[in-house]
Amino acid sequence: MTEDSIKQANKRLLVRLLIVVVAMFGFGFALVPVYSVFCKITGLNGKTSNEVAKDTSGPIDDKRIVTVEFLASLNESAPWEFHPEIAKLKVHPGEFYHIAYYAKNLTDQPLVGQAIPSVAPGLAASHFQKIECFCFSKQDFKPGEGRDMPVTFRIDTALPAEITTVTLSYTFFKLNEVAHQD
């Protein structure tokens, strides 16, 4: 081999190795969306969709009754009052129901919050559909403002038969960075 061809070969090798490094590092980051998709499919961690359900038609199973429980949590120093208007609701799979959560800003400053939904048991997560939810977007609150925030949801009829109780939980987070923008 001549010196030039060695140099060329080395260059090729270097480029390939760099691609491998970038690929492995990228793989670490690629795990994030892959994991999210994986969670949505399997209901891992009770991760439920934070988007509007598209298909709203479908049969109603009025023989079956499922109890839906509503939970409200506040993360860390989120200065809100936050609770569901009712604790439990008996529902028929397939039918849409409308409930509300109440939230009140306890400070004298405008606040922005985001509610994160979670469903237990995890297997039920993919059968929990929402067509209206305050969790779809950030919520702005004026100082001292309190208001009802609506959720319209249904449990689809494909919910596995062994599940009789489903819990919908919202955790309210204060978004710090938004406060700076104001």
């Binding site: 939970l71 200065p79 955790t171």
Partner: protein, 401 residues
Amino acid sequence: MLVNFLARLRGVAIIGGLLFWSMCACADYKLNMPVGVTDTSRDVYDLHMLTFWVCVWIGVVVFGVMFYSMYHHRKSKGAVAAQFHESTTVEIIWTIVPMLILIGMAIPATRTLIAMEDTSKPDLTIKVTGYQWKWGYEYLGEGVQFFSSLSTPREQITDDSVKKDEHYLLEVDNPLVVPINKKIRILTTAADVIHSWWVPDLGWKKDAIPGFVNDSWTLIKEPGIYRGQCAELCGKDHGFMPIVVEAKTQEDYDKWLASKKAKATQVAAADAVDREWTKDELMAKGKEVYGTICTACHQANGEGMPGTFPPLVAGKEFSAAETMLTPLREDGFLSDDNKIIMGSVENHAKIVLHGVPGSAMQAYAEQLSDAEIAAVITYERNSWGNNTGDVVQPSTIKAAR
């Protein structure tokens, strides 16, 4: 010959094991997993013992052969090395046999696991929230919720000359009370970092993850008090957030629940009356609240910890990252040369009510009543050499909310 030897070895192992077992049982040494008080915990215990004995027998056989070989195939005894070094037959045997043993263990494990995951048809639901460093319990649909924190006095932990209670570090101010023979669904979540809710007698633990809920269930058969601890590292006082579950008969549970509800309305009523508190009342109440809520970080002497938890004593220096110092300075609690100063009552109330974002200081607006917050602020402003003389009334806090 070998079989004989193994049989003898087995005997010795059993006798030795039993001897050791009984010896330890006499002393105050707890050896094994608790059998617990639920069907789940019993199944788990059986599975644990099954796996344990399988391991013991494999160990006895493998180590038996090994020790036999070490004793007999020694150069000093004139052993001449054989030269065999391969046998596909035995390799296949010792791949297949362990597989079969594993399948034998996987079957009961799968059965138990399926039963544990079945949270359907609960009689009542309790939400468990992990906080740094206490637990919050909420009885769904009953309107009862409370916090449960360590009740072991601080002196017992830090001072060896103080005698420790029988249930040192495993005692709380408000235990979780549940009825027996009812299927209880337990939802775990957390408000700050990941915790894990574990009572060994119930047979499982479940992580409490901020933003997500996990569900599990239990059905306790015997009334009693069952103790556990947080099982996921959650910061400084991870070792000091125990769990106490008190299982009562349905009747006793109903009584307890009724009294809890009555108390909740009483407290609300008391708070509604805007009466004036005396300074002594506030100081006494404040000391109590400070002891359960604030000492963990700010310390009993109010001196905090350098770098993480600011002191509450005026004149003390606080050195920490700039991100921690800025909010303190903005609220008027820190001078330019990084000494603590007493800011206004309004800002003091603001910090206690709403916390300091981005720090370990939580919002206590939901957890503490107006009177409690007023008392603790009064206490902080008049202790450890702080002598502002301020008396903060619950009405002030109510207005500040």
